[in-house]
Subunit: 131 residues, 2 copies
């Protein structure tokens, strides 16, 4: 067992009981979708991802890719060279997920104006209705 740990855990909880929850937990976090989309364009190495994700810290990027790799959406390819090189790319499973995200994204694009409008209404106090 290695004694170095970045916290990319999730061993115990009732993980895996609801497939949809698993997927949402996997990519619903702050950088999951962007990571999948970037890797959908082409294979990236660590620093390429880092530069394409403005604002993310190394710690969080590492956690994100490790988590996605654990779930089988991306693969982590380590070249045993010096200096080290690590590439990330989508797996077949990840490509399938990307298609679903694209579909959801299309729907979101088409309807997010309604969401924004609803928020304005609600925030203006026109929320509840009385039949």
């Amino acid at each position: 067992m290695s004694d170095t740990h970045i916290d990319v855990p999730v061993p115990v909880p009732l993980e895996g009981v609801c497939p949809l929850r698993d997927v949402l937990d996997a990519v619903g976090n702050k950088w999951g979708v962007l990571t999948i989309v970037l890797l959908g364009e082409r294979r990236h190495r660590y620093n390429e991802l880092h530069k394409s994700m403005p604002g993310i810290s190394q710690r969080i990027l590492t956690r994100t890719v490790r988590s996605l790799a654990r779930d089988g959406f991306i693969s982590r390819i380590v070249y045993p060279t010096v200096p080290p090189r690590v590439d990330y790319e989508l797996t077949d499973l990840g490509r399938g997920l990307l298609q679903q995200l694209n579909a959801l994204n299309a729907w979101a694009d088409a309807h997010h104006e309604e969401m924004v409008a609803a928020r304005r209404r609600e925030d203006a106090g026109q929320g509840t209705q009385m039949p």
Copy 2:
């Protein structure tokens, strides 16, 4: 001379910039999807939802439905009676979202075995590969 002023603290409400993020934030939380699904079956009143969502507290249920209502996915109908009665039902927007969730759910059902298998592999130490 005006000294440095590097610190631009970013006013938080960058809500609404990315449609897909908005959707994921809206229903990616712990009880969002279940709420949408339940209301997709039929209109529910507050306590009906509560009984159908084992483990949720009143506070969280209230927050969940209020948030979904604010985003326009469900409507909140208040009957000015005593004792009070409040119904929740999907809006057209919410029904559209439910269809997307159903699609994603179908994909998740079809592929979550691969996710679980990937996790087992990863957790067993067969994670990285070296070409």
